[in-house]
Symmetry: C2
Subunit: 247 residues, 2 copies
C-alpha cells in the first residue's frame, strides 16, 4: 500500500503510519480497525466545520449554521471528498466486502475519511487535523449557498414566493394508488398567481408534496427573472465581537 500520494492529498504526513493504516481498515478486515477512530474523527470534523462556518458567515444565526454544518458533515459530502482523493484504492476490506464492491460504498468511504481525521488528531493534535480538514473543505465551502443548502423543496419554494410578496402555494392530494402497505400519493402544487399547476408523486403524502414543490419552484423560476443577490453578502460579513482569534 503506497500511502505517500494519499498523505499528500490529505495534507498531513503521519509520524505514526500505523494510525493511518488503522483509519483505512474496515471492520470486515479485522482488528485494529477504524471504528473508534471514526467516532473521534466525526467530532473533530464537526468542530472544525463549525469553526469554519462561524468565521465565514459572520451574520448567520445558530439555526442556519447548524443546518449548514449538518449538510457539510453528512455522508454524501464526505463521500465526495473521499472520491476526490482516491480513497477507495487504499481501503483494507475483508474478502466478502471486497467482492460486493465495498470499496466503492459511500458509507465505507465516508467512515474511513472520518477515521483519517481522527488519526491525524491523535498523530499531531487539533491544529494538524484542523489544517487538513480546512484544506479539504475549502472548495466545498466556496460553493455553499447559505440561503438554500440543506433546505427542503417546500421551504425553498415558500421563501422564494415570500421574498417576492407572492401568496403561498396550495397543495392537494389528487389521487392515491395501490394497497394500504404500498400506497402511492399524487399531490398537486398550485400557485394560481403564476398560473402554475404541477404534480408530484411519492410513497407518502409528504414525499409527493416535496416532489411537487421542486417542480413548482423550477416553473416559477423559469417564469420570473432571478432576484439580485441580497442576503449572501450579508451572511458573509463578519460582525464586531465575533472576530476570530488565531487558532
Amino acid at each position: 500500500m503506497d500511502l505517500d500520494r494519499l498523505q499528500q492529498l490529505i495534507g498531513h504526513r503521519f509520524d505514526d503510519a500505523a494510525l493511518l493504516r488503522q483509519a483505512l481498515t474496515h471492520r470486515s478486515f479485522g482488528q485494529p480497525n477504524n471504528e473508534r477512530l471514526e467516532f473521534l474523527g466525526d467530532s473533530v470534523l464537526n468542530c472544525v466545520v463549525a469553526t469554519m462556518l462561524y468565521r465565514h458567515f459572520g451574520r448567520l444565526d445558530e439555526g442556519d449554521l447548524s443546518r449548514l454544518r449538518s449538510n457539510l458533515v453528512k455522508q454524501q459530502a464526505l463521500y465526495e471528498i473521499a472520491q476526490r482523493i482516491g480513497l477507495s484504492e487504499h481501503l483494507q476490506l475483508g474478502e466478502g466486502e471486497l467482492r460486493s464492491g465495498g470499496h466503492r460504498r459511500p458509507s465505507i468511504l465516508a467512515d474511513a475519511l472520518e477515521g483519517i481525521f481522527g488519526a491525524i488528531f491523535l498523530d499531531a493534535g487539533f491544529p494538524a487535523a484542523e489544517k487538513a480538514i480546512v484544506a479539504l473543505y475549502e472548495p466545498v465551502l466556496r460553493s455553499v449557498d447559505p440561503l438554500t443548502l440543506g433546505k427542503d423543496a417546500k421551504t425553498l419554494l415558500q421563501e422564494w414566493l415570500q421574498s417576492r410578496k407572492l401568496p403561498l402555494p396550495v397543495y392537494s392530494v389528487v389521487a392515491t394508488h395501490g394497497a394500504a402497505h404500498s400506497q402511492m400519493f399524487e399531490v398537486e402544487c398550485a400557485i394560481p398567481k403564476l398560473q402554475i399547476r404541477v404534480l408530484g408523486s411519492g410513497a407518502s403524502r409528504r414525499a409527493a408534496e416535496q416532489g411537487a414543490a421542486r417542480r413548482a419552484l423550477e416553473a416559477a423560476q423559469a417564469a420570473m427573472p432571478p432576484e439580485r443577490k441580497r442576503s449572501r453578502a450579508r451572511a458573509d460579513a463578519p460582525v464586531r465581537g465575533d472576530a476570530p482569534a488565531a487558532a
Copy 2:
C-alpha cells in the same frame, strides 16, 4: 458584574472580556448575545468530551462511546456544572426572563455554559477550551459507569439478567385506563425464576414497561448479591494502536 471569581472557576482568564460577557448574555437581553457562541461551544465541547472518552475508555466500542458522549453533553449534565460554578448570578437576561426565573432555568444555564466554551475557543484557541472543559468534566467522568450511563431500564434489566444466565423478563399489559387521547397503561414485569412480579404505569405502553423494568431491577438486585466488577476495568484499559498523542 464581577467576573474574576467566575474566570477562576472556569479555569480561563479572558484576554477579551467582551467575549465572556457575550457568552453570559441571553437573547432576551439584546445583541450581541450568546446564540452563535453556543453553536460554536457545543461543537468544541463535543470534540473535547469525545477525546476524553476515547482516551479514558480504551476498549469501549464506538456505540458505547457515542452513548456516553451524548449523556455527558446533554442539558442536564451542563446544567449541573453551571450550578457548581454559580453561573446563574452572572447571566444577563431581559426583564421578562428575569421575572419568570430565567436565571435558574436549566436550558438557559446550559446554553450559557456552551457559550463560554465557544468564547474561550475564540479567545485563546482549542487547547485553552480543552483545558477548561477537561477540568470541569474530570469529576463528572470519574463518576461515570460506562456500562450503565444512558441505558434505559429495560436494557439494564436484560443485561443484568443475561450476565447471570437468567431467562429474560416477561412484560404484559394488565390494564388500560382512560379515554383514547389520555390513556394510562399498566404493565407487569415478571421474572419467574426470581419470583418477581412488579407493576409500572405510564402514558404509553413503552413508558409503563420502562417503569416496571426499573422496579424489577431494584427487586432483582435486592434479591441477589452484586456481581464483582468485571468489565469496568476492561473498558478503562488503553489498547495498542490507540495510544493518545500529546494534545
